[in-house]
């Protein structure tokens, strides 16, 4: 299976950059040491954001067969942490540091049926999978959900490539996905691949689990920058050490705690592994759980949170504050 988790860094040259929607920009890069790209792959890029070295992950939307020229699509969120602005400023001829393709979300050949579900910019992970399934003559459907058509990238290309296998669900056209109906309609044995905001993934997982469907048939790729609420500023305190930090909307709680001098444990930084877990000792407001580590029951308990992605939202009549105990 085409799983690749070994980072090999290389150089790349921007060869094209153009907007697809008001929020999404397509950037094409020629890499120095190409390797073929498998469906579901992403790259990490090194960026300097506000003077600090940082990295971001982007799905590979499409690539030439030899992998020399790859296309990414960068979404500028209202609460972008700064990576999108740096990427959007790249012009043809600019160089950047980029990994060879990594893949935590491989497409497995050989299933009797596939359902691909993309929400918003999550479509970037699905374009390649759908193309691969089409090339192989597989039985597949591609469901693409978005807020409004002008904000949804690649619709025309996907319609041309996939015809009736593509189904659009557009909120402002009143054709939103109804998750329970969707899960009911998926036949046993189907493999489901989902990439989208955490709300979409949580909802699908909940419906999947309540029907006792095999968890191994549901594959998800997360990206840790979406929640149930808009990101807002909140305060985090660690009474044991006296550390207090303001968490800006474009910053994670983990980043704010690190900047304030807390010695934090973490690994994936995208809400999967659970290593950045902190215990909540006092809460004013509510927790916006944005991880896939906790179950519904654990999230409802509001006693722990993955501080790499999850946030606090203010109560109707007060400030958003969380006091925590760290490991």
């Amino acid at each position: 299976m085409a799983v690749s988790r070994t980072e090999v860094w290389q150089g790349g040259t921007i060869v094209a950059s153009r907007p697809l929607t008001p929020e999404i920009r397509r950037i094409e890069i020629e890499v120095d040491d190409p390797v073929p790209v498998s469906p579901g792959a992403h790259v990490d890029v090194r960026l300097t954001i506000a003077g600090e070295r940082d990295r971001r992950s982007y799905s590979i939307v499409d690539a030439t067969a030899d992998g020399r020229r790859i296309a990414l699509s960068v979404y500028t969120s209202p609460v972008s942490r700064g990576g999108a602005a740096v990427m959007n400023a790249l012009a043809p001829g600019d160089r950047l540091e980029i990994t060879q393709p990594l893949n935590d979300f491989p497409l497995r050949p050989g299933a009797p049926r596939y359902v691909l579900i993309a929400g918003g910019v999550g479509i970037t992970a699905m374009v390649g999978m759908a193309a691969s399934l089409r090339a192989r003559g597989a039985d597949y459907r591609l469901l693409y959900a978005g807020r409004s058509r002008p904000l949804m990238a690649y619709v025309d290309d996907l319609r041309e490539a996939h015809g009736e296998r593509l189904r659009l669900h557009v909120r402002d056209e009143n054709t939103s996905l109804v998750i329970s109906d969707l899960v009911d309609a998926i036949e046993p044995g189907t493999e489901v691949y989902v990439c989208g905001p955490i709300r979409l993934m949580d909802a699908i997982r909940r419906e999947w689990m309540t029907r006792n469907r095999p968890i191994a048939d549901l594959r998800m790729e997360t990206f840790g920058n979406s929640g149930w609420f808009d990101a807002q500023e909140f305060t985090v305190r660690i009474p044991a050490t006296g550390i207090e930090a303001r968490v800006r909307p474009n910053q994670s709680m983990l980043e704010a705690l690190e900047a304030a001098g807390a010695d934090m444990m973490w690994d994936c930084r995208k809400g999967e592994c659970g290593l950045c877990e902190v215990r909540v000792s006092r809460l004013s407001g509510d927790i916006d759980h944005r991880d896939v580590f906790y179950s519904e029951r654990q999230k409802d308990a509001r006693s722990k949170m993955c501080c790499c992605v999850s946030r606090v939202v203010a109560p109707a009549d007060g400030a958003a504050v969380v006091e925590i105990v760290t490991s």
Partner: protein
Amino acid sequence: MQETVTAKLLDHPRNAWYVAAWDHEVGRKKILARTVAGRPLALYRTEDGRAVALADACWHRLAPLSQGALVGPEDIRCPYHGITYDARGRCTSMPAQETINPSALVPSFPVVDRYRYVWVWVGDPALADPALIPDMHQMTDAAWTGDGLTIHAPCNYQLILDNLMDLTHEEFVHSSSIGQKELSESEFVTSHTDTTVTVERWMHDIEAPPFWLKNMRDKFPGFEGRVDRWQIIHFEAPSTICIDVGVAKAGTGAPEGDRSQGVNGYVMNTITPETARSSHYFWSFQRNYRLDSQLITTQLREGVHGVFGEDEAMLAAQQAAIDANPDYEFYSLNIDAGGMWVRRILERMLLAEGRDHAPAPRRGAQLVR
């Protein structure tokens, strides 16, 4: 064209089917640990008998799954922290948490049971077409019978392919069983396609060496006299060599196609690279006469086992000498034609995978002074 010297340590294609094991080696009593084309695998069967090949390293901390246990109809459990995976390598449970990390999986490799072997594809799974499995139908065809064994050869797989593509060595390595001086005296004809190489050699009107005299007497009791002997070597990429061998009473028309007055065997060989310096060499000797005789099957298996033991010793010694003399290169002889076509095909497969070895000056280039 080939701007390279003859590789002493040839890399192996990954987009290919390799035999991981005999079918009977893969089951539910124990999990088989075997490295195929550089990839350590845990091999087992589901309750309904499907062969499974997973990477032999848990997603979590890379503990070997082959030391774990089989649980439920198809799952395997890591021996260290109990993480379980299904036959597709997808995590089905994790300790001490209520959810499963969505990226948790171990690579699962395409597997096919065919010709009494379990074949595995460690390259791009999208290319794993079972139609690409080399033809070894004599292993299971009702017109043939036989048996074989596995040699764990301490050498690069290419050395074994070289060995089988040129049987001149039989005269020197196997002098007491199948060797005879006519081997190096007779002509051979080499031909190839994009994926196959054939080397055909006939020895007319010769004494049958001991191995073949015994086989003739199994079919023709009391046989005495001279024979026509053939060796037709069929290579199919990347590393399967089936050799049509036999002798017939001299002058009874075997070269023209009538083998009724002779005995015919097929030496089935398929070589799986393990590491750069070790290989799994699966072989069997199949025959199309006296199908009912288990005695002959066992005698042939043991006889060939003895013959191949001589090859194994030579291959080990050759690999040791190659490693002990890193500054010396290979030279080739006319008898290497078959083996050199094999290398050419393999190098093209490697090139297609973007894995050609670093070009070195061609030895034949003229020196300019």
